[in-house]
């Protein structure tokens, strides 16, 4: 049976969803729209039922693109997702507004169960409902009470699902009920007035409010959390904690995953019989999978915190205090968390934009997030800074190298904000942005929900974005492994002979050969072909090759240069590589890595979308190739122009 789960936001709808389906949840698509369809399976007396979790809405009439799926499905009986039964979750402590959606669904005459959730909270607020009396007002519907956050009421709900008649009923709560057209404002307004009138008449009879101690704690907390000074201080502190965890503590599990996959791939290349297929596995597929899994710690950590903020009700307050600041930039208060976590990594950042309900604001946040300097840029920045920026102090106490690093981060941040403001003017949408945001009462987070959110995010990333990342890493591997004809073999042979003449050691010979092979692979040829294009930026073909390979991930730039210059990588310091790069001369005898070309490269890496994983995740989140390609286009243009201007000024 197909069951729709509907309800206002902040009613604990997802708790009910998790309570019924547990970990048997999947993510799919509603036909023709870009909203994720979250559904889960549960078994009831040997029958599997599909529960579809619709976006939380206040009415069947949508206020955003994402919400429209509710209207589209419920209006059209032929829709493949049209439900045979609806479960409407309502917050018992705020029944008036919640009954609005319920009565709309009831009037569609679909069999419907009303779940009065958060019964504990209602009791605490001194509200009680006479359920049999309420049920009398809605013949054919079943009404039950739950406290889903602690799993109370599951049996009652299952029993209701089992026992309710699966035939459409013929009752109407609001006699004039009909589904208005979306542009029929007058019809919707009349419906709102009349429906609320009827709802209030019912509530007078079935609801009793004993005390007036409502919302006291929330109100007191809000005095501090939205305070002009403390509000921002607390938010800053919360961000610092999140940032610290993602930035610093995720490094350990990431290094671990990195190490395991590197060892595994090295072991495979030793154990497997030599050949192309073994190379594909040990150098293409295994590192590719490692390149997907390495992001899991950051994603899991960020979503752990975001789920906490959302569950507790604090995220809505963040929007409240940040709205006025972010509005001129076309961003939302909720953009702050995705943008700042992009300083660690844009991938969880982009995924975190899911909390932004306005389509345009979400799009802008996604498009500018990768401009924030992420941690993968650090190896590139530090290498280039050590190479071309002298160790000096400015103004007597500021370290020049540190100052440049700070400047690069600032450049990324300023670019992100400026581009956001520009995109606000460029992206056209029919919807007018508005806030109308409920500030839910503060609640302690439900750990089960937090866990399920983390699990779902990780799974979606690994399966959906992982496919693209793996495919691109295999393509890059193939391009670095193959060359036209026997060009690579010849080059390798030459290099080997040359090495013999120079009496190089085995290790040195290997590096020499690897460098020659890379130079003559398809990537090498592309790098050389790229030279005329990147010459105005101050780069040669060797840098060109590294630009192409580092599309896999920015930090690959360092390793690629090491291969090309045939120097041994020494992990952190890169002393050998830096010495080798310093001695690299152009045809005219000037160094390749001057202040101008080095700075130009830094600026290039600030702006360029050099990350296939981000590309894949933007495709996953926007559900089309259009946006990631636009993003790569404008970021690439900015990178090229920025690097060109930098080179021009400094040389």
């Amino acid at each position: 049976m197909k069951i729709a789960l509907l309800g206002n936001p902040n009613t604990g709808k997802s708790s009910v969803f998790n309570m019924l389906t547990g970990l048997r949840q999947q993510v799919g698509n509603f036909p023709g729209v870009t909203v994720d369809k979250k559904f889960g399976i549960f078994n009831l007396s040997n029958e599997d039922h599909t529960l579809i979790d619709f976006p939380g809405t206040y009415s069947i009439y949508p206020r955003s693109k994402d919400e429209q799926v509710v209207y589209d499905v419920l209006k059209n009986e032929q829709h493949p997702d049209y439900p045979e039964l609806a479960i409407v979750v309502a917050d018992e402590s705020n029944l008036e507004r919640n009954l609005f959606l319920f009565t709309q669904v009831y009037d569609l005459q679909i069999p419907v169960i009303l779940v009065l959730n958060m019964a504990d909270l209602a009791k605490k607020n001194g509200k009680s409902i006479n359920i049999p009396a309420l049920e009398e007002a809605f013949p054919g519907a079943k009404i039950i009470e739950t406290t889903a956050r602690v799993g109370m009421g599951k049996e009652r709900l299952l029993q209701a699902i089992q026992s309710i008649s699966k035939e459409k009923h013929s009752e109407r709560f609001y006699a004039n009920a009909r589904i208005c057209d979306l542009d029929d404002s007058k019809g919707q307004e009349t419906e709102a007035t009349e429906r609320y009138g009827l709802i209030n008449e019912i509530l007078k009879c079935v609801q009793t409010t004993s005390s007036t101690k409502t919302e006291q704690t929330s109100n007191k907390l809000d005095r501090i959390l939205v305070h002009p000074i403390f509000g921002y201080l607390i938010f800053g502190a919360v961000l610092m904690i999140i940032f610290q965890f993602i930035f610093a503590f995720a490094a350990y599990p990431m290094d671990f995953i990195d190490g395991v996959f590197a060892d595994f791939s090295a072991w495979l290349s030793q154990e497997l019989p030599t050949g192309l297929f073994s190379d594909l596995i040990s150098q293409g597929i295994v590192p590719g999978i490692g390149g997907v899994l390495v992001f899991i710690p950051q994603i899991a950590l960020l979503f752990f915190f975001i789920a906490l903020l959302e569950e507790s009700g604090y995220l809505a307050r963040v929007v409240f205090i940040m709205d006025r600041i972010m509005r001129p930039l076309g961003l939302n208060g909720k953009s702050v968390v995705p943008l700042l976590s992009s300083v660690a990594c844009a991938i969880p950042g982009v995924m975190a934009t899911r909390t932004i309900s306005d389509w345009k604001e979400r799009m802008i946040t996604i498009l500018v997030a990768p401009l924030m300097s992420c941690s993968a840029r650090i190896p590139v920045y530090t290498l280039l800074i050590a190479l071309v920026i002298p160790k000096a102090t400015v103004l007597g106490f500021l370290n020049l190298q540190g100052l440049v690093l700070f400047g690069l981060y600032t450049l990324g941040l300023v670019a992100a904000l400026l581009i956001a403001a520009l995109l606000k003017l460029l992206i056209k949408t029919r919807e007018k942005g508005f806030l109308l945001l409920e500030l839910p009462s503060y609640k302690s987070p439900r750990w089960g929900n937090v866990g399920i959110t983390v699990w779902e995010k990780v799974r979606v990333f690994v399966w959906d974005a992982g496919k693209v990342i793996l495919a691109i890493s295999i393509i890059l591997w193939a391009m670095a492994t193959f060359g036209p004809g026997d060009r690579m073999e010849k080059a390798a042979l030459n290099a080997e002979n040359h090495a013999k003449e120079l009496k190089l050691s085995q290790n040195e010979t290997d590096r020499f050969v690897a460098s020659a092979k890379l130079e003559n692979s398809y990537i090498g040829i592309m790098g050389k072909g790229l030279e005329p294009v990147i010459k105005p930026l101050g780069y040669d073909w060797k840098i060109g090759i590294s630009l192409i390979t580092s599309f896999a991930a920015r930090e690959v730039f360092v390793g690629s240069l090491a291969t090309i210059y045939a120097v041994q990588e020494d992990g952190g310091e890169n002393k050998r590589l830096i010495d080798r790069m310093r001695s690299e001369k152009r045809a005219d005898g000037k160094p390749v890595y001057s202040l101008a070309s080095g700075a130009s490269l830094m600026v290039f890496y600030v702006f360029a979308m050099q990350c296939m994983a981000t590309l894949a995740v933007v495709k996953r989140e926007t559900k089309s190739w259009k946006w990631p390609l636009i993003q790569m286009g404008f970021m690439g243009t900015m990178a090229y122009l920025g690097a060109f201007i930098t080179y021009l000024i400094l040389s």
Binding site: Y58, S59, Y61, R63, S93, N94, E96, R97, F100, N125, S185, Q188, E189, A192, T193, Y196, T214, E215, S218, N219, D222, R223, V226, H227, P228, G231, Y232, A316, V319, F320, I321, D323, R324, I325, R327, K432, F434, L435, L436, L437, E438, L439, P440, S441
Partner: protein, 82 residues
């Protein structure tokens, strides 16, 4: 004399009179802001915008230009919370 909700001071209790015709009007009404409804302005965000109001047991935040669409009457004798 009705006033715009955006001009009401925190703590004050007011009654919704009417909403200006706009795209947002049906949305505001669906959130429970219908004529005759009593709401209390709770607090404002640090820059005075948006504002938070209590609509019969739940807290709704609105930008000033959204609140400006809503005309309200001051409820006589409503006490002002500090």
């Amino acid at each position: 004399m009705s006033k715009a909700l955006s001009s009401i001071k925190p703590g004050q209790l007011v009654t919704v009179c009417c909403i200006q015709d706009s795209e947002l009007k049906p949305k505001l009404m669906e959130m429970g802001l219908i004529a005759g409804k009593e709401v209390r302005v709770l607090f404002r965000a640090p820059f005075g915008d948006p504002i938070a109001i209590d609509v019969h047991g739940y807290v709704l935040s609105l930008r000033l230009d959204e609140a400006g669409l809503i005309q309200v009457n001051e409820t006589i004798g409503s006490e002002v919370f500090a």
